[in-house]
Amino acid sequence: MSVGTPLPRLSDQGPVLAGAQVLPAPGPLAPFLPGSGLRRGSLVSLSGQGKTTLALSLLSAPVAQGAWAAVVGLPELGVEAAAVMGVDLTRVALVPEPGPSWPNVLAVLLDSLDLVVVRPPRRPRPAEARRLVARARAGRAVLCVLGGWPEAPDVALAAETEAWVGLGRGSGWLRARRGRVVVTGRGSAGRPIAVPCWLPGPDGQLAARGPAGMAVAPEAPEAAPWAG
């Protein structure tokens, strides 16, 4: 599939995304994505340990620029983690228990919103999956799937955890996770690229992790600020 030609940079587009073909992606990942963002009408798969944090990071930039999003089938979503990630929660609908008719729920959301994150309650049948992807394309929404999906995605993002830092044996607290995101595209972008990043960093947001590393989380533990 192809979705238009590369577009002007997002910073030129002003606050409303309605006309844009590409939704903005988190800074560290954007250079490695086709079109430097999430193309409308595309299917994005999220996997690996850390995929929920990754999913939240994908929401924040589009929603901040006026997009509408929904998270479906994730009753345990950490609302506070989303807020700390910078997600404007007033523009995110949560459908924690979509029920047996979840494909229909998804279809309605793909028709009307810009970005839909879903953890399907079961693996969809190929015909169902095709129908939903077609719906996303027609509604110009991005469908992000956590978990099994029978079709090959346009972009696959796999989170990998190397180690949590900040926690000792009986001391400190979880401050950041050192990890990477492996980006695999389709066609010309088919070669997997591993992007080292903090997932999340000590401020709760996705952050780039250059070769020099980032000044984060002295492994020497301190007293936790909230204890006592």
């Binding site: 983690a81 810009d114 709760g204």
Partner: protein, 515 residues
């Protein structure tokens, strides 16, 4: 207390369990969509919690019997109980299968006072439950107070609250008993935790800050009826009727024909700006029999809730076990709003609707809300609280959204970054020390051993590579029934799975996962 009706409530605890034919001493959990929706006292003692996953419940209570939820069965089994109590006292209203209420005034004089009436109702209901469900010595609790809301709570305590003593009786209850989670969340955040604290506020400011919903809660908290009396009788006949031709003999056929009635009545109510608080279900048969039953709302009845009451009632009347089964097919179904209140209303304009994209989104979400019901589509907000679950408030999409909280420091809240997954309810876990025994925490925060292994929901134990804690919490110490003392830990296992755990006595739970 002018105008508040003395009300008796009879409550069968854990009705879904009793309706399935089990007593309180058998460990039973009633499950819907993989989650526990009700359990027996024996199962509760073994650590089964409502909302738990089926597998987790089975892990925490060996020998647990699992029963699939059947709302039709619950309604069918309750109908004989309603009939039995109706034979004693007329004008019985059903709140939901397992809870009924009735006005006390006349009957109490006839039976020689409120206590004898309560005893008579309890005995009658108990016998009916035993016969209908085949459970020996079922529990039926009866309470009397001013108004149905207070009576329901009195039944939980098996208390006869003296007239005009209702406000004092209600004062210590937490605001969550109002059954309005979003309002309760907001009140708790403002430090108004009990009905007494809510009742102590003045009505004017309550109306200004919380709107009609708040005024109704405020009236309930003061032991008044939840609606102004002049609205007791609807201004116009609010009725939806369906004629059935051919007559329906079976529940499913009648229920199918009645599907649209709830919707029709809801449309009429909405046009009048009203919400139904007491619903009358009536059927007529070929032989001219008329059966009527009243259903009282705990919160306002919307279209789907009214349709559900109708279906439940049809189950009660038309199924094979019915006591008062009609002798012929049903020719007419009718729903009538007997009592109404001003609708709490939906704040239009929240979430704007400025651009086309906004309007499209709002339309789509409204459609979804109509498809799935008002509780299914939510928006989240962060509020003050200590536990990970306390810090999120989920508000139905389209409802009044409480004002955004200031970012005030909350002592004892867990630190940034917050966990990406918060388990509701917490997942049972086992954290063991070097000796293979569960790690315990003393009241002073001393550990019985260092955490060495963690197993989540009966899974494979994994070595703990890093941990911190215990952070001690004494939550709601001012409210003995809700008081919890617990200790929290952060744990990272060998595979770099990071958890926020809590231990209460020696019972461990994973409250959240840093995914």
């Amino acid at each position: 207390m002018g105008g508040v009706v003395r009300t008796l409530a009879a409550w069968c605890p854990d009705w879904p369990v009793t309706a399935a034919g089990f007593g309180a001493d058998v460990p039973v959990a009633v499950v819907a969509a993989g989650r526990v929706v009700a359990c027996s006292a024996a199962a509760r003692d073994a650590g089964v919690l409502l909302g738990m996953r089926r597998r987790a419940a089975e892990a925490s209570c060996p020998g647990l019997r699992i029963v699939r939820r059947d709302e039709g069965r619950e309604a069918r089994a309750f109908e004989p109980v309603v009939v039995a109590v109706s034979a004693l006292v007329p004008a019985v209203e059903v709140t939901r299968p397992g809870l009924l209420s009735l006005a006390v005034f006349g009957p109490a004089r006839y039976h020689g006072g409120e206590q004898p009436l309560a005893a008579a109702v309890a005995a009658r209901a108990q016998a009916a439950v035993a016969a209908a469900c085949g459970v020996p010595e079922p529990v039926v609790q009866v309470g009397i107070a001013d108004g149905p809301f207070a009576a329901g709570l009195a039944a939980r305590r098996q208390a006869v609250v003296p007239p005009s003593g209702t406000a004092a009786f209600l004062a210590p209850f937490p605001v969550t008993v109002l059954g309005r989670p979003e309002l309760a969340g907001l009140l708790v955040r403002l430090g108004i935790r009990t009905l007494g604290a809510l009742a102590a506020l003045e009505e004017g400011p309550v109306a200004a800050r919380f709107g009609p919903e708040g005024v109704r809660a405020h009236r309930l908290a003061r032991g008044l009826d939840d609606r102004p009396l002049r609205l007791e009788a609807p201004p116009a006949a609010l009725v939806a009727t369906a004629e059935l031709d051919p007559p329906a003999e079976r529940v499913d056929v009648a229920a199918f024909a009645g599907r649209r009635l709830g919707q029709e009545l809801a449309v009429q109510l909405e046009a009048a700006g009203l919400a139904c608080t007491l619903l009358e279900v009536e059927i007529e048969t070929e032989h001219g029999e008329r059966l009527v039953r009243r259903w009282r709302a705990e919160v306002d009845l919307d279209a789907s809730a009214m349709g559900e009451r109708l279906r439940w009632q049809l189950e009660g009347w038309l199924s094979g076990t019915a006591v008062e089964a009609p002798s012929a097919g049903v020719t007419r179904l009718q729903l009538r709003a007997v009592a109404v209140a001003p609708a709490a209303g939906r704040q239009v304009g929240f979430w704007g609707g400025r651009s086309d994209a906004d309007r499209r989104a709002v339309r789509g979400l409204d459609r979804l809300r109509a498809m799935l019901g008002p509780e299914a589509v939510l928006t989240g907000m962060v509020v003050g609280g200590r536990g990970p679950g306390d810090r999120a408030l989920l508000v139905p999409w389209g409802d009044t959204r409480p004002a955004a909280p200031e970012r005030a420091p909350w002592p004892g809240a867990h630190p940034v970054p917050p966990p990406a997954l918060v388990h509701r309810p917490p997942r049972p876990a086992l954290v063991t020390g070097g000796d293979g025994r569960p790690v315990g925490v003393s009241a002073r925060g001393c550990l019985s051993g260092l955490p060495e292994q963690v197993a989540v929901e009966g899974g494979r134990p994994s070595p703990v590579v890093a941990w911190a804690g215990p952070w001690l919490y004494d939550e709601r110490w001012w409210d003995p029934p809700a008081r919890r003392r617990l200790a929290r830990f952060q744990l990272v296992d060998e595979d770099q799975h990071a958890y926020l755990c809590c231990v209460e006595r020696t019972r461990w739970f994973v409250e959240a996962t840093y995914d």
